[in-house]
């Protein structure tokens, strides 16, 4: 019975959760103050936009592409949210919807011209950044009241960031892992040839996945502004690498098709907590990036070990 539960496959998918538990216990031990409603709220609230950006990145990785523009895109969304969406909600909503369409267009471009996604999205990152500076030349703007109210919600018993994370992971999990069309979308990353032969339009699938990524990027930017109250054209540039690391940490792979929405959200939270953990350790900040990398390498190394055990009969 135990042997059946502890298959390498099960351990593998439990790895992000184990990492989360380890780091959470370490933080509670270092700083008992965090073990409260208030503490968890502060510890985790900035993980919500990162989790949303990670989910966006996951959609792209799922179809075997890579998005190097998500950080700049989230920054642009943050700028639009803090200006247009605040001043004239209609214009803001249209602009954000337009951005999602542009994302779908980028997906179409990458598919039709057979371009490397890294090059296209790297180029787009400068477009997003330029637009962000045009929308908001100097840091400022104001978060719309309803977003601010949502992000600072204090529900009874369970802190809002935890509810939000569970909700995000749950919705995406059921849409992508449990629904029929979700299986098709995932298949497009794993084996595009056979899907095409089965009559599915790869163009449509790519556009759907990129549009979904754009949609979650928009949510990420809005959530971020809800937390910071105002925006800055450079506010989320870190998210590009954090989101890729989050997906990989959460059990996803670069080869396409192999992803885990729950893992991605957990991965984003682990990365956020890793930063807090290292700062509670009073580690020199110059070492912090390295230490964050080390955590990533340890988890990935464990995964390789488990995969080897899996391959062995």
């Amino acid at each position: 019975m135990i042997a059946r539960v502890l298959t390498p496959r099960a351990i593998r998918s439990a790895l992000p959760v184990i990492a989360l538990a380890v780091i959470l216990v370490a933080i509670f031990w270092l700083q008992p103050r965090t073990m409260s409603y208030f503490g968890l709220n502060l510890l985790l609230n900035l993980a919500i936009p990162i989790a949303l950006a990670t989910i966006a990145q996951m959609f792209i990785l799922c179809v075997n592409d890579l998005d190097l523009s998500i950080g700049a895109f989230v920054s642009l969304v943050a700028c639009i949210t803090a200006t247009w969406l605040h001043d004239s909600p209609l214009l803001g909503t249209l602009a954000l919807a337009g951005l999602v369409l542009v994302y779908a267009g980028v997906g179409a471009l990458i598919h039709l011209r057979n371009l490397p996604s890294i090059v296209v999205t790297l180029g787009m990152s400068f477009v997003w950044l330029g637009l962000a500076v045009l929308v908001l030349p100097t840091p400022g703007g104001k978060a719309p009241e309803w977003i601010r109210a949502l992000m600072t919600l204090k529900p009874a018993y369970v802190p809002f960031p935890i509810i939000a994370s569970v909700l995000i992971a749950g919705v995406v999990h059921f849409a992508l892992m449990r629904s029929a069309y979700g299986t098709v979308l995932r298949g497009a990353g794993g084996n595009p040839k056979s899907l095409e032969r089965a009559g599915w339009s790869m163009l449509k699938i790519k556009m759907t996945m990129f549009a979904l990524a754009g949609f979650f990027g928009v949510l990420s930017g809005m959530a971020l502004v809800g937390l910071t109250t105002s925006a800055d054209a450079n506010i989320a540039l870190r998210y590009t690498l954090l989101s890729i690391a989050g997906v990989i940490l959460g059990g996803g792979e670069f080869v396409g098709g192999r992803i885990s929405p729950v893992g991605a959200v957990v991965g984003a939270i682990v990365l956020t907590l890793a930063g807090s953990f290292l700062s509670f350790l009073r580690l020199n900040p110059d070492w912090q990036i390295g230490a964050q990398g080390a955590i990533l390498i340890i988890v990935l190394a464990l995964r390789v070990l488990i995969s080897r055990a899996e391959a062995r009969p």
Partner: protein
């Protein structure tokens, strides 16, 4: 009768204790520095000053801890997370040099709501609950012209060296200079170049514009460009005008050489990196329960003919003149702001 004396002693002791209260009140408090960037000599000097002054304060028991934290990537989200971590670590006050004037407001609000005192300096934040120690760059530009009006009663032509185009600091200093020129009515700005606060850029820019200029009485600068301007004048074989300096080591060294050689006279002004220690004392005063206005102004570090040598001696090669502030300095700044 015998019983009364000890009572009187106790009262006297209590009275003595009360007069010491300003120090006793914050002895259990912990202050953190949240810094967004440490990649240039100014910021390095800023951190060293913080370390020097606060470690003495901790030793004397003014506060129980004053730790410095720097983010690795100069990113808003990273510093916001850092501030939230500092709240969780139970600091009573957080002193911030911010990556963005607006982007940290959410985290700063969280800190205020948790009862943490937030003091921002240099890179200030706009959240109303925080204290701000801002630099009045406009006044700095104006001071240069006011000094020149004293030095050169007959006025004359000015060459303006500006900073990096499009940066707020450049606009402010330049606006101050133009205000000063309009106010004194003695000077005419005959040329303006961008020196980008770097000696080599300034030298090239000045060398390029010099042939087209009439006689220059003085050069107004923004710091980091005075030495380059002097070299350009020398190379062109023109008489050296009064060049306002910006406290950099190379500028002060050149000034000292000229002063020894031909009694050259000018002044030098900039912001001391030690402003971090001013922010520390302001935070300590707020924790002490003193009434401190939310908006304070950093005093400039001005070097004149008579204190050039001592400032040059304490400035390290390649660095910028520095001064560490004391509790008394902080009190003076607070009372100047009407506290």
């Amino acid at each position: 009768m015998m019983r009364r004396i000890p009572t009187a002693l106790i009262v006297a002791a209590l009275a003595l204790g009360a007069s010491n209260q300003a120090i006793a009140d914050t002895s259990g408090k912990r202050i953190a520095l949240s810094n967004n960037y440490a990649g240039n000599s100014w910021r390095q000097a800023m951190l060293r000053s913080w370390d020097k002054v606060t470690s003495q304060a901790v030793e004397k028991g003014v506060v129980s801890a004053a730790d410095a934290f720097t983010t690795a990537e100069n990113q808003v989200t990273e510093q916001a997370a850092q501030i939230q971590n500092l709240i969780l670590q139970g600091y009573d006050a957080i002193v911030i040099n911010a990556a963005s004037p607006e982007g940290l407001n959410g985290a700063v609000k969280e800190a205020c709501d948790a009862g943490v005192t937030v003091v921002s300096f240099d890179g200030v934040v706009t959240e109303p609950c925080a204290w701000r120690i801002a630099v009045d760059f406009k006044q700095m530009g104006k001071d240069e012209v006011l000094y020149l009006a004293d030095r050169l009663p007959d006025g004359g032509n000015l060459l303006e060296i500006r900073g990096l185009a499009g940066v707020f600091v450049d606009d402010e200093i330049s606006a101050g200079i133009h205000d000063g020129v309009a106010e004194t009515g003695k000077f005419k700005i005959v040329g303006s170049v961008h020196g980008n606060w770097a000696q080599d850029v300034a030298q090239k820019a000045v060398a390029g514009i010099l042939p087209s200029l009439p006689e220059i009485a003085a050069v107004v600068t923004q710091g980091g460009d005075g030495y380059g301007a002097a070299q350009a004048f020398k190379a062109a074989g023109r008489p050296t005008p009064v060049i306002v300096m910006g406290n950099r080591h190379d500028e002060l060294t050149w000034w000292k050489e000229q002063k020894d050689a031909n009694n050259y006279e000018t002044m030098s002004v900039s912001i001391a990196p030690g402003v971090s220690t001013l922010a520390f004392w302001v935070a300590q005063q707020v924790l002490d329960g003193q009434s401190v206005p939310k908006d304070l102004v950093v005093p400039f570090l001005r070097i004149d003919q008579d204190n050039l040598e001592e400032n040059l001696a304490t400035t390290e090669a390649g660095g910028v003149a520095n001064v560490e502030y004391s509790l008394e300095d902080a009190k003076a700044v607070i009372s100047a702001a009407g506290g």
